[in-house]
């Protein structure tokens, strides 16, 4: 197993995530796709840490950070989605165009 394997996996995961973000209609789906993006990044961190600097723990610590932030982001995101649901009776993002002026 080399670094490339990991990077490939992570790239694959990232692309799936991007695809999800761009195509899902459901806001919750988008949120989940974003989680995939986070995980792709996490894999990258861990992989680089393992292969580039095996002694240090920087990558792992950063990963934990990212997980924490992701959790917070999910919480805030979900709260927003619930509010949007209440306002618009749905979470389809193509229906929500209040940002357009």
């Amino acid at each position: 197993m080399t670094l490339y394997h990991f990077l490939s996996l992570s790239a694959l995961l990232f692309c799936i995530g991007i695809f999800g973000v761009l195509t899902r209609r459901n806001a919750i789906g988008i949120l989940m796709a974003i989680e995939l993006l986070f995980n792709a990044v996490n894999i990258n961190f861990v992989a680089f840490a393992r292969f580039i600097n095996p002694q240090g723990l920087t990558g792992q610590i950063f990963t934990i950070f990212v997980i924490t932030v992701a959790a917070a982001e999910a919480a805030v995101g979900l709260a927003l989605i619930i509010l949007i649901y209440r306002q618009h009776k749905g979470v389809e993002v193509d229906k929500i165009n209040i940002m357009k002026w």
Partner: protein, 641 residues
């Protein structure tokens, strides 16, 4: 005792506060408080008099009240023989008048308030005579003015009464203007407001004689206002609208004498300025003559007495102007007793008859014996008949005038003649002859004891008070109250006899005209119609002042407000406003077509561009995410390659 003399004015002040704040609803108690307070003041004044008699020196007690550079005031008291005499005069008259008022004002709904005002007046007047500085005397000066205002307008429902109060306050305040400026001039030059320090400075020549004369005359302006001297005498007759006891206390015996007191107090200054003294003497003599002549033809009993008061005050002022410190203050003292008596007697008559007009009275002697006898005694005293009080004091003044300048003595004689005439005209018309108004006559009755007892006491004083000044006494008035050193004028028998004859002839003339009716009063009136009219209308002073002072001031005020304030200044302000509005309108046009033209041109370009580009803004979240993503990819690609 002397250092505690401050307590004398405190009693009436306390009484005033007590009545106003606590007992205003209890008339009887209020009058008792008030009389009790003035009685206490009287006792303490008596103690002061006795101790000053024992040791006749000037003593001053003071404490620092205000200390600013150029303006240092020591509040305190100045006690000398003059002060102690004045304290007695004020407390005695005030006490008697207050007792009298219990009867006179018995039915008044504002009884308690009346006594509170009397207390306030007594406080202010006592404060005035005890003052030790120009500043302090001015304070009390204004306060007595205020109480005079309140008491003249006491029956404020009557328009004439409230008018008279206002007139009195404003007229005396006009005199106070001069007083105030005089104080400024004198005190800022000598650098102190304290009497004794100022006298000391003046005597040591700290002020040039011109300035001294100017300030002395200006200060005299205050006395002219308060003592109703020409040309500010017009307020006093109107002040008779107040309750009669008030007229007795304030407008005859005490407050109006404050002007005389002031000149006496400042004798050190007037003594050093010959022109100022001359002005004082001339004003006094002129007023004495003027007022006496008006009194000859008045029909209102109180107005006759009022003009008599003005005339007698003129007498005192004349005496002081001639340097007669002793004579002037002596006459002040005797005059207080008989003039208070006359006013209270008149009040008793008015109380019985419910009218002021002497032509509705007549034959009252049988109905009101005490009042009539005391009134006639007072008139004799005022006319200067031997050996009543008035004789001694008037003689002192005439003697002084004769020695200094015979012209004044002749004027004095003429005034004495007129005085005797108008007083006995009054007596004969009111107390003798037939009743002219039968209805009123039938209802007339002697006043209650509470009113007649003060009359009797005052009559007693009108006879005997002057005896302290009998010229042959070695320890008389003149050796107690004097300025610098005792001047003993040699008694002049001829003068005494002439004066008595003059007074008697005045009385005789009145007797012939109004009692015997051998000379017809009507005939005389018709013979001298223009003079009578002139006198009857008081030389038209009121009309004159109205035309040359009061109306122009109102006109000016109206002009300044309507024409200047609203017409000019506000017009300018509004014009500036309107001009600004016009300018803004103009610039608005400029804005719309030129500035806005340019701005709008830019706007069109921007809007056109925006119309194209806005299509990018879909509001779709995923479009934005897509653009962001590919934007990043693009940037990375650009960076890598």
């Amino acid at each position: 005792m002397l250092p505690y003399s401050w307590i004398i004015p405190c009693f009436p002040l306390l009484s005033f506060a007590l009545i106003i704040f606590f007992t205003i609803k209890k008339p009887k108690l209020s009058s008792q408080i008030s009389i009790g307070a003035v009685a206490l003041s009287f006792i303490f004044s008596l103690i002061v008099l006795v101790s000053v008699l024992g040791n006749p020196v000037t003593s001053e007690f003071k404490f620092n009240w205000l200390d600013l550079p150029g303006f240092k005031v020591d509040a305190g008291m100045l006690i000398d023989p003059l002060t102690s005499v004045m304290l007695m005069v004020v407390t005695i008259v005030s006490m008697l008048v207050q007792i009298y008022s219990v009867g006179y004002m018995a039915d008044d709904p504002r009884f308690a308030r009346y006594f509170s005002f009397l207390s306030l007046f007594t406080f202010s007047m006592l404060g005035l005579v005890l003052s030790n500085s120009f500043f302090e005397i001015f304070i009390f000066w204004e306060l007595v003015g205020l109480t005079s205002y309140l008491l003249i307008g006491f029956w404020f429902e009557k328009k004439t009464a409230s008018d008279a109060g206002k007139k009195a306050f404003i007229t005396t305040r006009t005199g106070d203007l001069a007083f105030l400026v005089g104080i400024f001039l004198l005190t800022t030059t000598v650098g102190t407001v304290n009497f004794q320090e100022a006298f000391h400075q003046v005597e040591s020549g700290a002020i040039s004689s011109g300035l001294l004369t100017l300030s002395a005359i200006l200060i005299f302006g205050g006395a002219v206002g308060k003592s109703a001297q020409f040309p500010l005498h017009v307020w006093l007759p109107d002040a008779m609208e107040g309750p009669t006891p008030v007229s007795a206390l304030i407008h005859a015996a005490t407050m109006v004498a404050a002007g005389v007191y002031l000149v006496a107090r400042l004798m050190s200054i007037y003594a050093l300025s010959v022109p100022a003294s001359l002005v004082v003497a001339i004003i006094g003599a002129f007023t004495a003559f003027l007022a006496a002549s008006i009194a000859l033809v008045q029909n209102d009993i109180k107005r006759v007495l009022a003009y008599s008061t003005i005339s007698q005050l003129g007498y005192m002022i004349m005496a002081l102007g001639l340097g007669g410190y002793t004579a002037g203050t002596f006459h002040l003292m005797t005059h207080a007793s008989f003039k208070a008596l006359l006013f209270l007697g008149a009040g008793s008559v008015i109380h019985a008859m419910h009218t002021n007009d002497i032509w509705e009275m007549g034959g009252l002697y049988v109905k009101m014996r005490t009042t009539a006898i005391t009134f006639i005694l007072g008139s004799l005293s005022l006319a200067g008949i031997f050996p009543l009080s008035g004789f001694w004091s008037k003689d002192e003044i005439l003697l002084l005038a004769w020695n200094k300048n015979p012209i004044f003595a002749i004027v004095g004689m003429a005034v004495a003649f007129m005085t005797a005439f108008y007083m006995f005209r009054l007596c004969f018309i009111a107390f003798y002859g037939k009743a002219r108004d039968q209805h009123k006559f039938d209802h007339a009755h002697e006043s209650p004891k509470v009113m007649t007892v003060p009359l009797v006491i005052l009559a007693f004083l009108s006879i005997f008070a002057g005896w302290v000044g009998i010229p042959w006494l070695s320890k008389g008035y003149s050796s107690f109250v004097y300025h610098h050193e005792v001047h003993h004028l040699e008694p002049n028998f001829i003068l005494m006899i002439v004066a008595t004859l003059v007074a008697l002839s005045g009385i005789y003339l009145a007797y012939v005209i109004y009692y015997k009716k051998t000379i017809s009063a009507e005939g005389l009136k018709n013979k001298f119609a223009p003079i009578h009219k002139l006198l009857y209308n008081k030389y038209y002073f009121d009309e004159l002042y109205n035309a040359i002072i009061i109306r122009p001031i109102f006109k000016l005020a109206d002009f300044l407000f309507k024409k200047f304030d609203q017409g000019v200044i506000d017009w300018l302000v509004n014009a500036a406003g309107n001009f600004t509005v016009f300018l803004s309108w103009f610039w608005e046009l400029f804005d719309t077509y030129i500035v806005d033209g340019a701005v709008n041109g830019v706007g069109y370009v921007v809007r056109g561009t925006g119309a194209v580009i806005r299509r990018v803004q879909t509001g779709q979240l995923q479009n934005y995410a897509f653009i962001i993503f590919f934007g990043i990819v693009l940037i990375i690609l650009l960076k890598v390659f």
